[in-house]
């Protein structure tokens, strides 16, 4: 249950990280509504997922404790360049996915009396596919930005990519 509590707290921390990254892109100087929307969407989904995990902790007889997870490094800045912000999001998503694996691994120790198919199924059903989807999407964005910024006009590439994100 410790891992699941940690998983919930990690979602809360990352939800606010995304909210602040989104805020940065909403200021009038950055003015990138597409990036603002991308990170706001991620913030919203982490928040909703956090509530879902908390409910699951209590569903299984656990007690939720709210604290910053010791294993999670706090972000010191939320003001990144466009490509860096997407790369940062990709890192955060991978880290969350691995934390999901921790929960799953703990619940899958069949020989150690810790076998918990309900928890492993919950992680499989509700999280791993979502993580894979988001990670693939962000990795694609990084590739696109990387190749466009390398050979085309940087400002125009970012403007058009932001416009693309607005419509996603």
């Amino acid at each position: 249950m410790k891992h699941l509590v940690d998983y919930a707290n990690s979602h809360i921390v990352r939800s606010f990280d995304y909210l602040l990254m989104s805020t940065h892109y909403g200021n009038y100087q950055k003015n990138r509504a597409g990036f603002e929307k991308l990170f706001r969407g991620l913030s919203d989904s982490k928040w909703d997922e956090a509530i879902d995990i908390i409910k699951h902790v209590t569903k299984r007889g656990g007690t939720m404790k709210f604290e910053h997870p010791k294993s999670l490094k706090a972000s010191t800045t939320h003001e990144f360049q466009e490509i860096q912000s997407v790369a940062k999001a990709l890192d955060m998503e991978k880290e969350l996915a691995l934390k999901g694996f921790d929960v799953h691994r703990e619940a899958s120790q069949r020989s150690n009396n810790k076998h918990d198919p309900e928890i492993s199924s919950y992680i499989e059903k509700e999280f791993v596919h979502g993580h894979a989807h988001t990670i693939r999407k962000l990795a694609g964005y990084v590739s696109d930005l990387n190749s466009m910024l390398r050979e085309s006009d940087r400002a125009l590439s970012l403007f058009l990519f932001d416009e693309y994100l607005q419509k996603e």
Binding site: L19, Y28, Q29, W47, I54, K55, M64, Q81, Q84, E151
Partner: protein, 223 residues
């Protein structure tokens, strides 16, 4: 070319490390001159940022309350639902305040310190019965209202810079919602207290009243 790009990114990382955003913008060849159009006072902006943290604190306390009432040994799904919804609502309030500041040209830099989800560590675990929770929620809302009024006061009394628009927004949107929310909670608190009265006189918990009240909360049957 690749080497140049890497150098650019490195420079940016370095600049970001020092929280120096302008240097970085220079690297992407975007020159944003400050058109000098913003007019919010520093005191007022600071108060607004504090208010954002307070809304987040309220959201976190409601989360803790929702978690408590979800436990099998407490088993009050109606209360849990109400508090989880309240938590998301408080988060939305914080986002609305952020959007407002962005609209007014604020939050250009140093956004990182604006939100600390676990700064209110005392509240990392909540326990109590239904009536205590409604009372705590009402007190929390009253605190938030008082704090909004304080923001209004500071932003209105800035010498030579009465922030009419923000004051109107906070009064019309936020206080409106606060007072309606408080009336709702106060009414619920009264209803539940009356259900429990007989038991409280005998220093009993009033399990039946709370059970009934919870199911009505869950189905939205309480006014």
């Amino acid at each position: 070319m690749k080497a140049i790009l890497t150098a650019t990114l490195l420079l940016c990382t370095f600049a970001l490390g020092k929280n120096d955003q302008l240097k970085c913008s220079g690297q992407e060849q975007v020159i944003v001159t400050d058109p000098n159009w913003t007019d919010m006072s520093k005191n007022c902006t600071t108060k607004m940022k504090d208010q954002i943290q307070r809304e987040i604190n309220a959201a976190m306390q409601y989360l803790a309350m929702g978690a408590h009432f979800s436990r099998d040994v407490v088993n009050r799904p109606g209360f849990a639902k109400m508090f989880f919804e309240a938590a998301s609502e408080e988060r939305q309030h914080a986002i609305k305040l952020i959007s407002y500041l962005l609209m007014r040209g604020e939050l250009i830099s140093e956004v990182s310190h604006m939100i600390r989800p676990y700064s209110n560590v005392k509240k990392n675990h909540w326990s109590g019965n239904g009536a205590e929770a409604l009372k705590a929620a009402l007190e929390l809302e009253a605190f938030v209202t008082k704090s909004i009024k304080n923001v209004i006061k500071v932003c209105e009394e800035e010498p030579k810079n009465n922030d009419y628009h923000l004051v109107d927004y906070l009064t019309g949107e936020f206080l409106e919602e606060q007072y309606k929310g408080q009336r709702d909670l106060a009414g619920k608190f009264s209803t539940l207290s009356k259900l429990l009265e007989k038991y409280e006189r005998n220093e009993k918990h009033g399990a039946l009243g709370e059970f009934l009240f919870d199911k009505k909360l869950l189905k939205g049957e309480l006014l």
